[in-house]
């Protein structure tokens, strides 16, 4: 749930999402669910020349499994907190595995 928890804090931030088919989409992150499906608003497709069919798309729902990268605004990430959250997650996982 770490990533879910993490992405929840990024709602209403502008992120760039790179899909596994190389399409890169910049937009406002509206919501994320536990499968890391992503709802984007005010989308902007980078390399729009390559993907003209997306030129009229204004918002979209992206299935989590097709996302390759999410590029985040650095200032919105609390790195120390994220490190701790990661430690907790690791501890949880270790606790579950046992």
């Amino acid at each position: 749930m770490l990533f879910f928890s993490f992405f929840k804090t990024l709602t209403n931030q502008t992120v760039t999402i790179e899909l596994k088919n190389d399409i890169r989409i910049r937009g406002t992150l509206k919501s994320v669910d536990q499968y890391l499906n992503i709802k984007l608003d005010d989308v902007d497709v980078l390399d729009l020349d390559k993907y003209p069919h997306l030129s009229s798309v204004k918002n979209m729902f992206i299935r989590g499994s097709v996302v390759r990268y999410v590029m985040l605004p650095r200032s919105e990430v609390d790195i120390g907190l994220l490190e701790d959250a990661t430690r907790r997650e690791a501890a949880n996982q270790a606790g579950k595995a046992r």
Binding site: M1, L2, F4, S5, F6, K8, T9, T11, N12, Q34, Y35, D78, G80, L81, L82, E83, D84, A85, R87, R88, E89, A91, N92, K96, A97, R98
Partner: protein, 849 residues
């Protein structure tokens, strides 16, 4: 218009008079027939139109007109004694109808809910006779294949079971709000029409009045009604007819007695009140199909050899809920009983008939009758409360129930707030720190589910003025929230992850988003864990090798998090009189102390100092990692003063082996250290220095003296003084001493000690004062140097100050000259730095001109 030029208008679209009529418009039952005829006369261009003569199989002629068995039921003629009140001329049709109107409506709704397809199917029957299997004789003459071609065979005996399935399947998905005349009514109308004279048929387009129909029927005479009812009748023999017939059947006025009983009975069987008998009411429901063994089923049907009982029972009937309305189904084999007794037990339709029966028959009949009455009474009792609650009421009740469900399951979630925090730690803490989308800033941490859900509730229901208009929405909204909460709570519940079916060899493991199905299920042997811990001390390569340092770091962090968790769960300050609270508090302190000890061990501050080795002390190695540096402020929050001074001492003693000092030594030819080192230095001054400073500012003077002594004795002061961090620590100590002196807290003896140490330091540093600056004047920030010099200058004796000025004079002049080439703000900054030192020794840059 259609692609292939076919007439694509659907038959139902071609019957506007029926489709578009309002609720109170009376349908014309003969319209369809007449229209079909009229169209047939036009030359039969449209093959979809069915000629009545073409489709009529003559079954109607076989109707038994003598079967007036139901007259009694129909006309309420007293045999059952259920409705003994005599019927006067002022019979209240409307009132009687109104009594059952509710029941009819409810039954209609209930039926349509249970069998969505049925009303539609029956609704199409009237306008599209060929499509309805209820008309066995309706032969299709369409060019298209309809599946009903076999009905053209006059010898064909329809398979009722197959047809009955039609009722369970929605043939026309769109629900028809106005049920059309029923199939067998259609049939009867066709029979009727066959007996009508042609000119009457031509009139049939017109609505017939009651008198006209009566007149027609009288003219035809009873004998002309066919002797056998059409076979499909059982499908539509409604259960509803029984309450009507038995309990609430109003006696009919005189004129009705002349109607053929079959017709009226069929109509009544469908719940048509007598007043509306000849005006097909739009609201007439498609009633329940009567079970085949219903006691008032005409006997000749049961005796029909072609109709074994199981054929009469449509399959979907078994799917119906065995409600109280169908108690007969629970009774032992009734279907056989009347069948076998059929000869001795004719159906009683009027009291005279009852008189002629034998005693046995009468008893049997009365028993049947009593059963029926009992059943109807039950229905009546059950339907009494119908419609009492509005949908809102029901929503409300549902919400209460859900609330209780949540309350029951929610306790698990509440007590498990730690688990929620563990699952959603980042979001929780982040929202607290940054005030992320959370509407209750004071909500205690961990009530995540509630917060999340209430948030939406507040937003939607917050405005009191708009509440009224939203109340219906709100119900749904709140319900949804509660469902969500219930789901949340259910998620919290530990679930069985595996199912082992008894006697099976394998096991089935469930998975969900939280705990995905493990691909591999490897059981870790207990021994391996033990071996690991055993091995650790023996990997005696070094306590400061990268791997073990990083491991230490992680364990330090884990301890830190544990301690922070503990802090959050700190019980309130105990009340003197509450032993339990004191006990709790004591326990908590105990735990904190244990954790503190653990943390202290993991920091390895107390590892013995091994002089003259290449491997750094574990704690110094710890500090050489960014993670380690970052941990210091957090560690300082959780340790006591003694531990703090130990750490400070440790750092001071190893000052020259500290990475930020060791690696920051100026390299000839390079103006400044590498980027990584600069980053490390920045981090150290941001993370570690404030903590140390925070301690030093409160430290007693003798500790400062001791630390300065350590610096002089244990470290290479020259090396330290060339680095920012080293100078920073020295500045820290010197300025603290000055503050102590200014405040007059220092005893004379301590001060003497300090001055001794200071003199040693000054003497050591004097030759290198010029070298402590960054190598080049424009290498960037040299403020820390001026700060250090200022700290030295304040504490120095006038003689020492002179020596100091001589040592750094060149740099001062250089900076002043250089600052003249800089933009104003940067120049003033540089000069300000210099002035920091100059003022400390009682001078000013201004004096330099």
């Amino acid at each position: 218009m259609s692609f292939f030029g076919f007439n694509t208008t659907l038959p139902r679209d071609r019957a506007p008079p029926i489709e578009s009529r309002g609720i109170f418009d009376t349908p014309d039952p003969f319209a369809e027939v007449a229209r079909a005829r009229a169209e047939g006369y036009q030359g039969g261009e449209d093959d979809d139109v069915i000629e009545f003569e073409d489709t009529y199989d003559g079954l109607g002629d076989q109707l038994d007109d003598d079967q007036d068995a139901f007259n009694d039921d129909t006309f309420g003629g007293g045999g059952g004694g259920v409705d003994p009140s005599p019927v006067g001329k002022d019979f209240d049709f409307f009132g009687r109808t109104a009594q059952v109107a509710d029941v009819i409506g409810e039954e209609q709704i209930r039926y349509s809910l249970q069998q969505p397809g049925a009303p539609a199917a029956s609704a199409t029957a009237a306008t599209q006779p060929t499509a309805d299997t209820a008309l066995p004789g309706a032969a299709a003459q369409k060019p298209k294949r309809t599946g009903y071609e076999k009905y053209q065979d006059p010898g064909y005996i329809p398979d009722l079971q197959a047809k009955s399935s039609v009722w369970g399947m929605p043939k026309k998905p769109e629900p028809q709000p106005q049920p059309q005349p029923q199939p067998q009514l259609q049939l009867q109308l066709q029979q009727l029409q066959q007996q009508l004279t042609p000119q009457m048929v031509s009139q049939a387009k017109k609505m017939l009045s009651l008198e006209e129909v009566e007149a027609q029927l009288r003219r035809q005479g009873p004998g002309s009604i066919p002797t056998q009812l059409p076979l499909p009748l059982p499908h539509s023999m409604p259960e509803l007819a029984q309450p009507l017939q038995r309990a609430q059947m109003p006696p009919l006025p005189e004129g009705f007695a002349h109607l053929p009983p079959e017709i009226i009975q069929a109509q009544l069987a469908k719940g048509v009140p007598p007043a509306q008998l000849l005006h097909q009411p739009p609201m007439v429901p498609e009633p329940y199909p009567l079970p085949a063994h219903a006691p008032n089923l005409p006997m000749h049907l049961l005796q029909n050899a072609n109709l074994p009982p199981q054929h009469i029972v449509p399959p979907q009937r078994q799917a119906m809920p065995p409600a109280a309305q169908r108690p007969q189904q629970q009774q032992p084999p009734l279907p056989q009983a009347p069948r076998g007794n059929a000869t001795q037990l004719p159906v009683i339709t009027n009291s005279q008939q009852l008189m002629h029966l034998t005693e046995d028959q009468r008893i049997a009949y009365l028993m049947e009758d009593a059963k029926r009455a009992k059943r109807n009474h039950k229905i009546f009792l059950l339907s009494k409360g119908n419609g009492l609650m509005t949908p809102q009421d029901k929503n409300f009740i549902t919400r209460i129930q859900l609330q209780q469900l949540v309350a029951a399951a929610g306790n698990v979630a509440d007590s498990d707030s730690e688990a929620v925090l563990a699952e959603d730690f980042y979001y929780q803490v982040y929202s607290q720190i940054r005030g992320a989308p959370r509407q209750h800033p004071h909500q205690p941490l961990g009530h995540f589910a509630q917060t999340y859900l209430l948030q939406t509730g507040n937003r939607l229901g917050g405005h009191g003025s708009r509440r009224q208009f939203q109340s219906a929405d709100n119900h749904m909204q709140r319900m949804q929230q509660q469902v969500q909460r219930a789901v949340e709570a259910a998620k919290q519940k530990p679930k069985n992850k595996q199912l082992i079916i008894e006697g099976s060899l394998g096991k089935i493991s469930f998975s969900n988003a939280k705990t995905p199905k493990p691909m591999l299920n490897i059981k870790r042997p207990e021994s391996s864990e033990g071996a690991k811990t055993m091995k650790k001390p023996h990997t005696d390569l070094s306590v400061s090798d990268r791997k073990s340092v990083l491991t230490n770091l992680e364990s330090v962090y884990n301890s830190l998090m544990e301690m922070e968790d503990m802090e959050r769960t700190m019980p309130p300050p105990p009340d003197e009189n509450d032993p339990e609270a004191i006990q709790k508090h004591m326990e908590w302190r105990q735990k904190i102390r244990a954790l503190n000890q653990k943390l202290w061990r993991e920091l390895k501050v107390m590892e013995p100092i091994v002089p003259n080795t290449n491997t750094p002390h574990p704690f110094i190695a710890f500090l050489s990692y960014p993670k380690g540096k970052k941990a210091i402020p957090r560690i300082f929050r959780h340790i006591d003063q003694e531990q703090r001074v130990t750490i400070l001492t440790m750092i001071v003693v190893h000052l020259d082996s500290l990475d930020v000092v060791r690696r920051a030594q100026p390299v000839p030819g390079e103006t400044q250290p590498s980027l990584a080192v600069r980053e490390a230095i920045d981090l150290f001054s941001q993370a570690v220095m404030p903590s140390l400073l925070g301690y030093v500012n409160e430290a007693p003077f003798n500790i400062i003296i001791g630390l300065l002594g350590l610096v002089i004795a244990q470290t290479q002061v020259h090396m330290i003084s060339k680095t920012r961090i080293g100078l920073g620590i020295l500045t820290m100590l010197l300025s603290r001493a000055e503050i102590v002196k200014e405040a007059g807290q220092a005893t004379e003896r301590d001060w003497q000690q300090w001055v001794e140490k200071f003199n040693v330091l000054f003497d050591t540093l004097e030759p290198t004062f010029a070298d402590i600056f960054p190598s080049s004047i424009n290498a960037g920030d040299d403020m820390y140097v001026w700060q250090f010099l200022a700290a030295v200058g304040i504490g120095a004796s006038p003689e020492q100050q002179q020596r100091l000025v001589i040592a750094v004079k060149d740099r001062v002049m250089e900076t002043v000259t250089y600052s003249k080439t800089l933009p104003a703000d940067m120049a003033s900054q540089r000069l300000g730095n210099v002035n920091l030192f100059m003022r400390a020794i009682g001078l000013d840059v201004e004096l330099l001109g």
